[in-house]
């Protein structure tokens, strides 16, 4: 099944005060992840309190945007879409969509890179991935 038109337009995310920098960075084409300033451990989705360690502050840092597909599923909806977890080069496995490709050729382990897709409403870009 090749990707059909019309393409699915994602619903707009609703940022909160703590995640505003993440969504603002997406407008600049950057995918941010959380990094503990003391331990260096990174996490996703980014949040102000590190989920791993009690010590250290969290800073939001740009990810390389490179990753591999950990798993995926094609939703057989009216407008089909590919949901996935992508393992970032930095480690975290993050929920996303795989876009701009033939859905029948998506594979676990496939290399992908980030791309930003405008969502409904004001077009807030949402990070998604496409095969390299």
């Amino acid at each position: 099944m090749s990707e059909q038109t019309p393409k699915r337009v994602p619903p707009s995310p609703t940022p909160d005060v703590s995640t505003r920098p993440f969504w603002d960075a997406a407008r600049d084409g950057k995918l941010l992840i959380g990094r503990n300033t003391k331990t260096g451990k990174v996490h996703y989705p980014p949040r102000p309190i590190c989920p791993f360690d009690d010590e250290g502050e969290v800073e939001f840092v740009p990810a390389s945007g490179e990753g591999t597909i950990y798993t995926f599923s094609i939703m057989r909806a009216k407008v089909p879409y590919a949901i996935a977890y992508v393992e970032l080069a930095e480690g975290p496995r993050i929920m996303t969509n795989i876009v701009d490709c033939d859905f029948d050729r998506i594979e676990v382990g496939q290399k992908v890179r980030v791309t930003f897709v405008p969502s409904e409403g004001d077009g807030q870009p949402v990070p998604m991935f496409t095969p390299v």
């Binding site: 699915r8 994602p10 619903p11 707009s12 995310p13 609703t14 940022p15 909160d16 995640t19 969504w23 992840i33 959380g34 990174v42 996490h43 996703y44 989705p45 949040r47 590190c50 989920p51 791993f52 950990y70 798993t71 995926f72 599923s73 094609i74 939703m75 057989r76 909806a77 879409y81 949901i83 996935a84 977890y85 970032l88 480690g91 975290p92 496995r93 993050i94 929920m95 996303t96 969509n97 676990v108 382990g109 969502s119 949402v126 998604m128």
Partner: protein, 390 residues
């Protein structure tokens, strides 16, 4: 303190309806409450503890105690772990009884997603934006079916599990459901029927999914002293465990579930092993749910679930581990999109010797009931009970 042997299930009732167009959700809660009390030989005046979860309309125990007319409560608990809440409630009731806080606990579940036309598994839900995960999941079309599908895909990739193996789980459930007059799907299906049904969220097909049904169920948990004063067979809580598993900051692994931990705790408390279990109620929102939990509960080696469920191994009278002999969520009932209470109810039927004769397990004196709530693909509750007949 262990709750082993400290409480008993004396009442169990499953609402016969599967489509409740003429009944409200609160009414269903009240009907199942009275059904379980009748089964136990008790009245609502005897109830001094009440347990409900997110399916109860209003402010949990406040609205339901008011509506049902429970006026002697000494203990309430609205723990919500999604579909497995009610297994956790049994354990929490046993704890409260063991502490002397109460002696007769009522647990109810009810809902009417079918009458309300809910697209339960396939429609992404926007949720409350204050829920921290929503903004990172809703834009991607995260629904129930595709989350479980991603678990199935990864298991297939790592262990070579096949759609045909998953299909055997539905086949086994359908063999049991044919004997249940209330089951939504009573037709016996084949592996081919399952794998040839339309893909919903690949690799999961329509027949890999549970039914959408209305109705509910209730349980009565009492102290052993109260239980022995009643006329029903005594089913004792021997072991229990619960946990939450989630994405852990991106370090997620979709090839196992919280059953790994809740099950281990339940077995340790009970002092028994998986091989000792005569009957198992295993949460079956999807076929993959069953396969993962069977591995995590220790019924087979990790990665071997596909082989374990094949060739009728879960069919009562045929295989080594009879499961979900009421037809389970896959064929019988998944009321309010929460299959936890029906898992306990069928385990109680088996231990009492009151399951349908065609599926009753001989000398069934030790059973396990296990539930998952929420989504295996993101975050889920997990609760395990080991029950025995006195």
């Amino acid at each position: 303190m262990s709750i082993r042997g400290k409480a008993c299930i004396v009442g169990a009732y499953e609402h016969p309806t599967r489509k409740a167009e003429d009944k409200s959700t609160a009414q269903l809660h009240a009907e199942v409450a009275l059904g379980a009390l009748r089964d136990a030989g008790l009245t609502r005046r005897d109830v001094d503890a009440y347990f409900c979860a997110g399916d109860a309309p209003g402010m949990g125990p406040l609205s339901m105690a008011d509506y049902i007319g429970l006026d002697r409560l000494k203990h309430v608990d609205a723990t919500d772990l999604g579909g497995c809440s009610y297994l956790a409630h049994v354990a929490h009731a046993a704890e409260a009884i063991a502490l002397g806080k109460c002696s007769v606990a009522l647990i109810t579940l009810a809902g009417r997603p079918r009458a309300e036309g809910m697209a339960t598994g396939t429609a992404p839900r926007a949720g409350n934006p204050a829920q921290p995960d929503v903004q990172f999941e809703y834009p991607y079309g995260a629904a129930i079916a595709n989350m479980y599908a991603m678990c199935a895909r990864r298991h297939m990739y790592e262990f070579g599990t096949t759609s045909e193996q998953l299909a055997w789980i539905k086949v086994a459930a359908s063999h049991h459901a044919q004997h249940n007059e209330h089951a939504m799907l009573r037709k016996v299906v084949t592996v081919e029927d399952v794998v040839n049904s339309p893909l919903v969220a690949d690799p999961l097909h329509r027949l890999d999914c549970c039914v959408i049904s209305d109705g509910g169920g209730a349980l009565i948990v009492t102290s052993p002293e109260v239980a022995r004063s009643l006329k029903r067979p005594v089913v004792t809580v021997r072991g229990a465990g619960e946990t939450v598993k989630h994405q852990m900051g991106g370090q997620l692994d979709l090839t196992y579930t919280g059953a790994r931990y809740s099950g281990a705790r339940a077995f340790e408390m009970a002092g028994v092993r998986p091989a000792d279990i005569k009957y198992a109620s295993i949460y079956d929102s999807f076929t993959i749910t069953v396969l993962l939990q069977l591995e995590d509960l220790g019924f087979c080696e990790r990665g071997q679930g596909g082989k374990f469920v094949s060739d009728g191994n879960l069919i009562s009278g045929v295989g080594k581990l009879p499961f979900n002999t009421d037809g389970g969520g896959l064929c019988n009932n998944h009321p309010a999109n929460r299959g936890g209470i029906t898992k306990v109810i069928e385990a109680v039927r088996q231990l009492r010797g009151e399951a349908h004769p065609a599926v009753q397990v001989k000398n069934c004196d030790l059973a396990l009931a296990h539930g998952t709530g929420g989504s295996l693909g993101t975050r889920h509750g997990s609760a395990t009970l080991i029950l025995e007949r006195e």
